[in-house]
């Protein structure tokens, strides 16, 4: 066995072991929510939970178009039957009769506590006019239905309840089923059995729905589309997975081609790739051991890790020109390489404080990967470089302009400082007046705009609540929450009257508080009184008094019944509604009041706040924005901490505060320019831009360290440029691949890092010059 083969054996075995471990244990998580921050307080946690797992998030809105209403209605009915029989869905409705019938018995049973004014209908006058109406109805075509209600419910409370529950929000009906407002599309609403965040189950439900649509489509012209929070989640996960894979392959292919061009030796390219690959595997192993799974976006970042780690052998290899020994080169680059690895690892460590799962993963992956890759590069390069191989520097385009070979252009400190100030000024001025931060979560959604628009259209057509706006009531008991909800109702009714609000749904309609139930029960007349009033109301009408025995019995029963609780509606559509509006979590009880057509959010929020301390108006977009802002602030703090750590490491490593300042100056300049550019032309900085800037800082320090070293030694400038071209080329390829991604998060980071890398290189040229401007580096390594 040759020494080279022996040197490869150990890392190969470790790599293989790591790969086997990953193969057997690593799960890839595709839930985009991993890149959303955890809620910091009870409200935020509930908001996130509502966003991911609320029953509302499980609703699937379906639209059928492209045929006459009769055909669409028949298709809608066939689809309803198909989905009702499908185990992936636990509820489906298209407004047809069959669904309504299921709710009727439980609604009728609770009529005297659900109806707000049942007792007032039981006066002599009330009973008389109610009976008059019953007689007229009995003579109509629906008379036989009236007959059913007559004996037990002569005041028609059930009928009124049905009408009040259907009032507002219920879609228009054509041919007996729901249609959109234009009457051109049949609408259905289904609910998945699985939680919206259960990606696998959501995907299965989506396939089941597709299959059902295939089966019920009797005419090729019928077009079906659908939307749900869960399906959108699946879609974004697929987009992420697809893009992550594409970005990775693009980056790897680009880097390999570039290194082949630079080194013209496959075995040297392999040598460059090995530490990076080992670093990636090591980082993933640590992640798997820590969390059990790795997010797809984090995996996509693996390629950026490769982009940086692949440079470590290059720092040595690009200097290995004919006539130099590896030991010589290693002696020269030892300190900057060590510092480069440490500063990058430290910078990535800052992500651990971000509070976002995905970012923490990223921090762990990067810091572990970088340290392993750096150490392995240092150890492997001297052992694996093919004997007799030397780096043949290629001609840099434009290197002629740099002047005679080896000479650094003699530009004074003043013009360089002026140039730096000018660039900074131009960018800062163009950024001035524009908002520095942009925490709009919509900007981070990987979904295409048309998917979001379709969701909005379907939501409007079905009258499904706007998932992004609702009032939230919290309390320590169910009764407390229900009472607060009842307090809210008049306020919301007033808001509707004032045109601030289109409509709302409230659990109070289905489940009044026990206090309200008691009031309503106590207002019902006792048996003797009711019998007496009925006898006074009957004269002049052709009814037999004894026919109303069931009515007397039901009122008496209602007066003595136990309070209504959610169990009364188990297994009905009403039960599903109650469960979606009322619930409990470790923080207590909550009720959600979905809102439709919010026109004046501020006025509404003020009224809600003024009414009850337990209630808040939640704007999900605003809430998530606020959360992002909060975490952006934390990330900013983490980055400041990371940058300070980098300076500290540099100061210790370079044994000079001034040298440390000089080493970080180009990346700070580059990062500032990039940030100003993003604010000026990119619509503001998000948490993800900050992460990218942190990467720029780490990468820039690496470059600066080597430029500083070369400048202080008066090294050949073309040689330095070639080295920088190779290392920044791999970085730009890796992040450039990310910049082509359709996922806003990846695209933002990719573009920012590429821009930042270029800016930092330019800043390096302005900061460093031989002898002038840069601090002399202590003698260590010089001439050794």
């Amino acid at each position: 066995m040759t020494p080279r083969a022996r040197a490869l054996l150990l890392p190969a075995i470790a790599l293989l072991a790591g790969a086997i471990y990953l193969w057997s244990s690593m799960r890839v998580d595709r839930d985009f929510a991993a890149f959303l921050p955890h809620g910091a307080d009870a409200t935020q946690r509930l908001v996130m939970q509502q966003l991911r797992d609320s029953p509302a998030a499980r609703l699937v809105l379906i639209r059928l178009r492209g045929a006459d209403p009769q055909t669409l209605a028949a298709t809608s009915e066939a689809l309803r039957e198909a989905l009702a029989a499908d185990g992936h869905f636990d509820y489906v409705t298209n407004g047809s009769l069959a669904g309504a019938l299921r709710d009727l018995p439980s609604l009728a049973a609770a009529r005297y506590v659900l109806s707000p004014d049942a007792a007032s209908h039981m006066s002599v006058e009330g009973l008389h006019s109610a009976l008059q109406r019953r007689l007229a109805a009995l003579s109509g075509s629906m008379g036989m239905l009236e007959k059913r209600f007559l004996a037990s419910d002569p005041t028609a409370e059930t009928e009124a309840l049905i009408a009040s529950l259907q009032a507002g929000g219920a879609p228009r009906r054509e041919a007996g089923v729901w249609f959109d407002a234009q009457g051109s599309s049949a609408m259905l609403v289904a609910r998945t059995r699985a939680a919206a965040s259960d990606q696998a189950a959501q995907q299965a439900a989506m396939q089941a729905l597709d299959a059902a649509l295939q089966r019920v489509r009797t005419q090729p012209g019928i077009a079906a589309d659908y939307s749900s929070a869960g399906f959108l989640g699946v879609r974004s996960a697929l987009l992420i997975a697809h893009d992550a894979a594409r970005v990775s392959w693009m980056a790897v292919a680009g880097i390999v081609v570039m290194l082949l061009f630079a080194y013209r030796s496959p075995s040297v390219v392999l040598l460059c790739a090995t530490p990076a690959l080992a670093g990636l595997v090591a980082g993933l192993c640590v992640l798997t051991a820590m969390f059990g799974s790795v997010h797809a976006i984090t995996l996509a970042f693996g390629t950026t890790l490769i982009g940086e780690a692949v440079d470590y052998p290059s720092y040595v290899l690009t200097r290995l020109s004919a006539g130099r020994s590896i030991a010589d080169v290693q002696a020269v680059v030892r300190r900057p390489l060590l510092l480069a690895v440490l500063t990058t690892a430290c910078g990535a460590f800052a992500f651990l404080g971000s509070g976002v799962d995905g970012l923490i993963e990223l921090g762990v992956l990067t810091s572990c990967g970088i340290v392993v890759a750096g150490a392995l590069a240092w150890w492997l390069v001297p052992r694996l470089v093919p004997p007799g191989w030397h780096f043949a520097a290629f001609a840099m385009p434009g290197s002629v302009a740099l002047g005679p070979a080896g000479a650094w252009p003699a530009v004074g400190a003043a013009p360089r400082a002026l140039a730096a100030i000018a660039v900074t000024l131009v960018l800062v001025v163009s950024a001035a007046g524009k908002p520095a931060w942009n925490d709009d979560p919509a900007r981070m959604s990987p979904l295409p705009a048309d998917a979001i628009a379709l969701d909005r259209v379907l939501r409007e057509a079905t009258g499904a609540p706007d998932v992004s706006r609702f009032a939230l009531v919290r309390g320590s008991s169910r009764e407390q929450v229900l009472q607060a909800v009842e307090q809210m109702q008049p306020v919301l009714d007033a808001a509707i009257a004032a045109q601030h609000l289109g409509g709302y749904d409230s659990v109070g309609r289905y489940l009044p508080s026990e206090a309200t139930q008691r009031t309503r029960r106590d207002a019902l007349p006792d048996d003797t009184t009711l019998q007496h009033r009925l006898s006074l109301a009957l004269p002049g009408l052709p009814f037999r008094a004894e026919a109303f025995a069931p009515f007397l019995r039901d009122v008496a029963l209602a007066r003595s019944a136990a309070p209504l609780d959610p169990a009364a509606f188990a297994g009905t559509g009403l039960g599903l509604r109650v469960a979606s509006l009322l619930g409990s979590d470790p923080d207590g009880y909550w009720s959600v009041i979905p809102l439709r057509g919010v026109r004046d959010a501020q006025a509404l929020a003020d009224q809600v706040r003024a009414t009850s301390a337990a209630a808040t108006l939640i704007d999900l977009r605003q809430q998530t924005s606020a959360m992002f802002a909060q975490f952006r602030a934390r990330t900013f703090a983490a980055i400041v901490a990371g940058a300070s750590a980098i300076v500290l490491i540099l100061a210790i490593g370079l044994r000079s505060l001034r040298a440390a300042a000089a080493a970080i100056a180009p990346s700070l300049l580059g990062a500032t320019w990039t940030a100003a550019g993003v604010i000026a032309f990119g619509g503001g900085l998000s948490i993800f831009h900050l992460i990218a800037l942190m990467l720029v800082l780490g990468i820039g320090v690496n470059y600066a360290l080597f430029v500083q070293r070369a400048a202080s030694r008066g090294d050949s400038l073309p040689e330095l440029c070639v080295m920088l071209a190779v290392v920044s080329g791999t970085t730009c390829l890796a992040f450039g691949a990310m910049a082509t991604s359709g996922i806003p998060v990846l695209r933002a980071i990719g573009l920012t890092v590429v821009a930042g890398t270029v800016a930092t290189l330019a800043a390096c040229a302005l900061v460093f010059a031989p002898g002038a401007g840069s601090a002399p580096v202590p003698a260590a390594g010089r001439g050794s």
Binding site: G140, S141, L145, A151
Partner: protein, 218 residues
């Protein structure tokens, strides 16, 4: 909290409501439609009188009209409710019931949709959104088409009398429907249906007398 008796809530002796009314309305005009359709049939009875023969004769021409008078006898009322109006059948699947008194109202079955128009507005229902409704419309279609297998699948049909004075008793096979409707008696004279009586399980009944109108000139 777990006393079962205290959990009892006022129960209402209600079968699925709106659906039943719609079924009833559908049934009423379906049978009425069958009746007017039948009035156009040919009453030649060479073979012994049976279901097959009646079914064969229950075939109509393209459009028929009839006057009706419906009397509803309800236990809760001291006097019956009387409704009058006209029935229109247009082959193959359109039926109209135009109520004139006591309050104007119109019911139309067309292409599987039941439309009700009254002073309180228009309501539409799909007949096939309910198995019961489907059974009723199938009975209509089967009757009009003389499709005996379908008719006997949904109802237990018993025919009595002679071709000149017959009575067809239809008992629903569907349990939900049977819980409410005991029997539907259709009385006829030759190919003309003269009366449809729906007897409910609780004893209430509705009797509809039908008088065919002379065919209008086309």
């Amino acid at each position: 909290m777990t006393r079962p008796e205290s959990r009892r809530r006022p129960s209402i002796a209600m079968k699925p409501g709106a659906g039943v009314a719609a079924i009833r309305a559908a049934a009423m005009i379906a049978i009425a439609g069958a009746a007017i359709a039948a009035t156009a049939g040919v009453a030649t009875a060479a073979s012994p009188f049976g279901l097959e023969q009646l079914a064969a004769s229950l075939a109509g021409e393209s459009r028929r009209e009839a006057d009706f008078r419906e009397t509803r006898h309800l236990a809760a009322l001291t006097a019956p409710i009387v409704r009058t109006g006209t029935l229109v059948y247009v082959r193959p699947d359109r039926l109209e019931m135009n109520v004139a008194t006591p309050a104007p109202e119109q019911l139309v079955i067309d292409g599987g949709i039941l439309t009700m128009r009254s002073a309180s507005g228009v309501r539409k229902l799909r007949l096939d959104s309910e198995p019961l409704l489907r059974a009723w419309t199938e009975s209509l279609r089967a009757t009009l088409a003389g499709d005996l297998p379908s008719l006997t699948r949904d109802f237990l049909a018993t025919l009595a009398g002679t071709p000149d004075a017959w009575k067809l008793a239809l008992e629903p096979r569907d349990a939900t429907l049977r819980a409410q409707v005991a029997v539907i008696d259709i009385t006829g004279k030759g190919s003309a249906v003269t009366q449809v009586e729906i007897v409910e399980q609780d004893g209430d009944r509705s009797v509809m007398d039908i008088v065919a109108r002379p065919l209008r000139a086309p």
